[in-house]
């Protein structure tokens, strides 16, 4: 904290309904990253409150937040963040290792999650043996494997080409239709079009909150 405290978010009041698909947009420095970090329980708000899945989490200590992240949140990153020396299956198993599941249960659920993202055949490949789209699918499987209440995707298509972007967005829509709540950060309007609601940030404030008819994905 420097002498000048600059609030990253001001008067942000957002409710994300269970089962919705929200896109978060805004230029860099607009506060959308801070918003996502708070949503993801990676950061605690200095003031204000945050309820996740009916539970207030804004006052929890780091270890309690780690447990909330483990049980209730799945992360998908722009750069995939897969462990390069581990197989797809081992990568997907990682959150369950911290949830304390035994080997057999982890293997079963990882297989299930990889099948759900269409990568059942690639369970024993390493990230370097997979294409960018496949790597992001592994990351999505990892995010889903603890059956989270919220899936947070930070520029998930930023490193992908147009065709693969379409495939990944179709996957997100499919997951959303099966009941998973998704919040996705993007700066591409094309990507935001797949969501049912768009939040636009500027200078730490929500400047637009628009409900739209999501574009139908063409698989």
């Amino acid at each position: 904290m420097g002498p000048h405290r600059v609030p990253a978010l001001v008067d942000v009041n957002v409710a994300v309904e269970r089962g919705s698909f929200v896109a978060v947009m805004g230029p860099s420095g607009s506060g959308k990253s801070t918003f996502m970090n708070v949503l993801g329980c990676l950061d605690r708000p200095d003031a204000g409150r945050y309820w996740l899945d009916g539970e207030e989490v804004s006052g929890l200590d780091p270890d309690a937040l780690a447990e909330v992240r483990n049980r209730k949140i799945g992360f998908v990153f722009q750069s995939f963040n897969l462990m390069s020396r581990a197989t797809a299956q081992a990568n997907v198993e990682l959150p369950m290792v911290y949830a304390g599941l035994d080997r057999a249960a982890r293997a079963a659920r990882a297989t299930e999650a990889l099948a759900a993202v269409g990568l059942a055949e690639r369970a024993h490949h390493r990230p370097t043996q997979l294409s960018g789209g496949q790597q992001q699918r592994v990351a999505i499987a990892r995010a889903l494997v603890n059956r989270p209440a919220l899936l947070l995707a930070d520029e998930p298509t930023g490193a992908l080409d147009t065709r693969t972007t379409r495939e990944i967005m179709a996957l997100f829509q499919q997951l959303n239709r099966s009941g998973i709540t998704i919040v996705l950060v993007t700066h591409e309007p094309d990507v935001a079009r797949y969501a049912g609601r768009v939040l636009s940030f500027l200078d730490g404030k929500v400047v637009e909150d628009r409900v739209q008819a999501a574009q139908e994905s063409v698989p």
């Binding site: 780091p62 780690a66 990682l94 911290y98």
Partner: protein, 410 residues
């Protein structure tokens, strides 16, 4: 995260960079190998020394007659015929610490067998003496109380004497002559080899004390109870210097020596010489232990260094682990287990290497290989502690990372 998962993760991480892992282990490997090898070599050397002490007889004092100073002139040892068999009897009767007091006479003479002769040292002894000096019989029988009581003309030959007179043949039952006296060989002594000053301990012959004094020409003295010396064995667990002091007091009293007079006898603690050597081999062990400790310290610093590098390199992985639900404790454990695994595997390799070196040295020196289980357990657990200690700082650093910044780390 359970311990098995953590160990699996640590092994994966170490396998990721085999060259770096093995170079990091090298310090620990060398340290532990040094400990194992030096303990093995050191205990081999000590074993040698202890065998020498045992061959002299343990807790043994020799008390001999002689050395009287008159008018400032110290006469040679043995000039005053003062020590008697009665002194030995008195020591046993009055000093509880003394288990055996075995009187003996000794002098050099020639032994003749057929056309062979050999100059050796003759001891006139009682069976107690053989016990005290741990002499055993390799063939035939030993000298008995009866032999002493009846002054039987029997003789026990040392290994070297048998070699010289009989060329290794069986002498038991044969007759040899001591000067003009014929005696029957009743047994051969088990070989003892050289003593700590390099003398051949097997170049001796033993006859009963009474036989030596009465039947061997040149031994007759004014006092038929006279002896040259006695071997006093101190009971196991009693203090040898204390026994020595009591014997001195007793003998001075019996010999009626006033306060101003010198002792008319000498005393020697036989284990002292060997104990000195034992002490020097201990000193060597301590020196090597210090070298090993320094090596383990350097190895530990190497581990800390590489763990710090590893934490920096894997910042994003740590960020990811934190994001998917790892607690600070989990990250701390992961890196601690990694550094401990490094040091313990290094210790395992070091044990094998040290054992190999010890075997080579033992073979070259002709010692038994003595790889001590204690040293193995100690060095492996010390390495474990080194791993934990030097891993703690890097692991703490890893666990204190902010997940947001760690995920953004390039």
């Amino acid at each position: 995260m359970n311990v098995l998962d953590a160990i699996g993760t640590a092994l994966d991480a170490l396998r990721a960079n085999p060259l770096r892992t093995s170079l990091t282990m090298l310090g620990i490997v060398i340290g532990v190998a040094a400990v194992i090898a030096m303990v093995a070599v050191g205990s081999g050397a000590r074993n040698q020394v202890l065998q020498q002490i045992a061959s002299l007889g343990t807790n043994l004092l020799l008390v001999g007659q002689g050395s009287v100073a008159r008018g400032g002139v110290r006469l040679g040892a043995g000039t005053a015929a003062s020590l008697t068999e009665d002194d030995a009897v008195a020591i046993i009767a009055e000093i509880p610490e003394a288990e055996i007091a075995a009187p003996y006479v000794r002098w050099g003479l020639q032994v003749v067998a057929g056309n062979q002769n050999w100059n050796t040292t003759l001891f006139g002894v009682t069976p107690d003496y053989l016990d005290a000096r741990t002499w055993t019989v390799a063939a035939g029988r030993s000298i008995s109380e009866q032999d002493v009581a009846q002054n039987n003309k029997v003789i026990l030959l040392g290994h070297t004497v048998v070699e010289k007179l009989f060329g290794g043949g069986d002498p038991v039952g044969q007759t040899v002559r001591l000067l003009s006296t014929p005696v029957t060989v009743i047994g051969v002594l088990a070989a003892k080899g050289q003593n700590s000053s390099g003398q051949d301990m097997d170049d001796v012959v033993f006859v009963p004390l009474s036989t030596a004094k009465r039947n061997i020409p040149g031994m007759a003295k004014a006092n038929p109870r006279f002896i040259h010396a006695m071997a006093v064995k101190v009971r196991e667990g009693f203090d040898v210097p204390e026994a020595q002091r009591q014997i001195k007091d007793l003998l001075r009293q019996r010999h009626r020596l006033t306060d101003g007079q010198d002792d008319d006898f000498w005393m020697r603690d036989l284990s002292e010489v060997a104990a000195t050597r034992d002490a020097s081999s201990r000193a060597l062990s301590f020196l090597l232990a210090a070298v090993a400790a320094v090596s383990l310290l350097v190895g530990g610093i190497g581990i800390m260094n590489i763990m710090l590098v590893s934490v920096t390199e894997r910042t994003r992985e740590i960020g990811l682990r934190l994001a998917v639900g790892a607690k600070r404790r989990d990250i701390l454990m992961q890196f601690l287990i990694e550094s401990t695994t490094l040091s313990v595997i290094g210790a395992g390799v070091g044990v094998l290497l040290g054992a190999g070196v010890a075997m080579v040295v033992a073979r070259a020196a002709g010692w038994p290989v003595l790889i001590s289980l204690d040293a193995v357990i100690l060095s492996v657990s010390v390495s474990g502690v080194v791993g934990v200690f030097f891993g703690l700082y890097p692991a703490r650093r890893a666990s204190q990372l902010n997940p947001i910044e760690a995920l953004r780390h390039e």
